[in-house]
């Protein structure tokens, strides 16, 4: 059903301006100033000129806008000797993401699987339904990128409603879904006739080659090796530098583990929240008795790798990793998922590549 069109950079901005003017929440990469320097983040754009249409990867993924770091899931209030619950709405105002990384858009579809595993997570899917994603094709990131090793592509369309690929004078736009079609139709004046498709193809090819050079994987072999080597000495060797901080999980587009906590907001009223959590901390699996099934850091690191490259693929037929490389960039101990997985790949393929 996909259809192609063309849009200039100024029309992308004009489209964003139209959306903002109409009261639609627009999320896009932008600069955030801190006393330590500037960082690039996906953020709610209040003005069009805040939107960055470049190649820099936002420090954190898009998941913040679907599974916020902290999210109220219920409110309660005492009324005499009764308790009254105020349900949280799972209907959300429309939002449009402009300039998403293809890996970040794909991550959402990957996480959809667990969020719909027998029980439908209304808060996740409410936000998913309310969001239209315009992705900007990626030229291939840096040395920590390996999306092509996990079945994705720097110009991949997965999870996107519209994919923009740089071409002379603007972007070749691929309209991929009904949601994308609806958005483009509503702003038809911003789009022109299809052109630059060849350039877009060349761009995609170049990006793919660039990322391909970083890592080649045989995911099925990796998964098989992981399933059979739970007690391998390898795990003890890889987690030595790990601080167990979970910064990796916080920037990961697919790490979705959470905690549920109650907080009082005053006397006799409060909220229940869902907060990000991570398998890298000891308390994550600590029993009330003090017993901890994952007592050391190597077992926690193993869990993270297993969940992504073995357990999730077994359960949902998907690798729970987009190869975005953020965990490697952020790790204070210099640990690198690419290095870990490529070692597993080597062992899995018997040293022969």
């Amino acid at each position: 059903m996909t259809r192609k069109a063309f849009i200039t950079e100024s029309d992308v901005r004009a489209l964003a301006a139209d959306l903002i003017a109409a009261g639609t929440r627009v999320v896009a990469p932008g600069r955030v100033g801190t006393p330590l320097g500037e960082r690039i983040e996906y953020r709610v754009a209040n003005k069009v000129d805040e939107i960055l249409l470049g190649q820099d990867e936002p420090a954190r993924s898009l998941k913040d806008f679907f599974l916020p770091p902290t999210d109220v899931i219920l409110a309660w209030q005492e009324k005499k000797d009764q308790v009254e619950l105020t349900p949280v709405s799972s209907t959300f105002a429309p939002q449009v993401i402009i300039g998403a990384k293809p890996c970040d858009a794909a991550a959402l579809e990957i996480v959809d699987k667990v969020m719909d595993w027998d029980y439908h997570d209304e808060l996740w899917f409410g936000r998913r339904a309310a969001t239209t994603i315009i992705t900007l094709a990626c030229e291939g990131g840096d040395r920590s990128c390996f999306c092509t090793a996990v079945g994705l592509e720097p110009s991949g369309t997965r999870g996107s409603d519209v994919l923009l690929t740089p071409a002379a004078g603007g972007y070749s736009a691929e309209i991929l879904t009904d949601k994308g079609e609806k958005l483009v139709a509503a702003h038809a004046v911003r789009f022109g006739a299809d052109k630059g498709a060849d350039e877009a193809r060349a761009f995609a090819e170049k990006g793919r080659k660039r990322v391909d050079a970083n890592l080649g994987l045989k995911p099925a072999e990796v998964r098989k090796w992981l399933a059979g080597h739970f007690d391998d000495a390898f795990w003890k060797s890889i987690a030595l530098a790990c601080h167990g901080c979970g910064a990796c999980a916080s920037v990961c587009p697919t790490c979705h583990c959470f905690d549920i906590v109650d907080e009082c907001e005053g006397l006799g009223c409060g909220v229940r929240r869902r907060n990000w959590d991570t398998c890298q901390t000891a308390k994550f699996t600590m029993h009330g008795s003090g017993h901890n099934p994952r007592a050391d850091q190597s077992s926690r690191m193993r869990q993270r790798v297993m969940h992504k490259f073995c357990i999730y693929p077994e359960r949902f037929g998907e690798i729970l990793c987009t190869g975005c490389g953020r965990c490697a960039r952020v790790c204070p101990g210099g640990m690198d998922i690419l290095e870990v997985v490529s070692k597993v790949n080597e062992m899995a393929c018997g040293g022969a590549k």
Binding site: A59, R143, C245, V261
Partner: protein
């Protein structure tokens, strides 16, 4: 093989230690390394990218490191302040660790890129360094290096914050701390954060949610708990995935402690901290 690598090789070969905790080349620059066999000693590197304070790997919280056996550790002068703190606080026994001191002339802001130490590349905490040659050591390696250039910008920023009205200052910290996602990476890399069970990991009283109220409470508790103990190694700030300027907080408190108690955590394990000692001249107006 260089001096450092040869020393590490010998310590391992002689069985004096089971692991040398140092630095190696990683995919994204220098990173912590745990060398357990003599033949791996040549993986060790030491240069201006070695920003990491490795001493927290010696705390009892790092059971997987302790399991390797007696360690040798490579420290910069500044790191020995943390080491002294750990000895002072009974977390490390001096005789249980072989300390390899490396002479240092400052480290880089960004350890992932090779560069020379200069005004614009040096880590802020190195400016005005007074401990380029570590003293709390068993072995000392490297050549003496010149003092890092420049004056601390953090101190300037603290002066600016001090000049603000309380409302302005609160607004500044609200803006900074609202970015916190409560990953607690600041805690995990801190050599002073060796509590068996951190207050933040208990269900009460600190809220674990990444909202301003919870974030403010967490960072205030942590800052107060660092008072008189923080050596300004800057690791918390370096690892923060949200770029929160945590040194501003810790160094401000260190300045207060220094002004009021004349105390600055040094590299002498025998020195006493204000929290554990009483001096008649200590300010006590708060109990009047």
């Amino acid at each position: 093989m260089g001096e450092l690598q040869e020393l590490a090789r010998k310590l391992l070969a002689d069985g004096a230690v089971k692991v040398v905790i140092g630095y190696e080349e990683g995919p994204r620059g220098v990173r912590p390394a745990f060398i357990t066999t003599p033949k791996d000693a040549d993986r060790l590197v030491f240069d201006e990218r070695c920003v990491h304070n490795l001493t927290m790997y010696l705390t009892p919280t790092r059971k997987h490191i302790a399991a390797l056996g007696k360690p040798a550790i490579i420290v910069k002068g500044c790191d020995t302040r943390s080491l002294a703190g750990l000895i002072r606080q009974s977390q490390v026994k001096r005789e249980n660790v072989v300390v390899i001191g490396a002479r240092c002339g400052g480290v880089l802001k960004d350890p992932s890129v090779k560069a020379a130490i200069a005004e614009d590349t040096v880590a802020d905490r190195c400016r005005g360094c007074t401990i380029r040659e570590p003293r709390l050591v068993d072995h000392l390696v490297g050549e003496p290096k010149p003092a890092p250039p420049g004056k601390s910008l953090v101190d300037q920023k603290i002066d600016e914050l001090d000049a603000m009205t309380p409302e302005q200052r609160l607004a500044f910290w609200h803006e900074q701390l609202s970015r916190c996602i409560r990953c607690h990476a600041c805690r995990e890399v801190c050599p002073n954060c060796f509590c068996v069970r951190c207050l933040a990991d208990k269900a009460e009283p600190l809220e674990s949610s990444a909202h301003l109220r919870g974030n403010m409470a967490w960072h205030m508790v942590r800052a107060m708990h660092q008072a008189g103990r923080c050596v300004d190694c800057g690791e918390c700030e370096r690892v923060c995935p949200a770029d929160i300027p945590l040194r501003l907080l810790n160094r401000k408190i260190a300045r207060v402690i220094e002004a009021r108690f004349g105390h600055r955590p040094d590299d002498d394990p025998e020195s006493t901290a204000p929290i554990g000692s009483f001096q008649p001249e200590d300010g006590q107006e708060f109990i009047r």
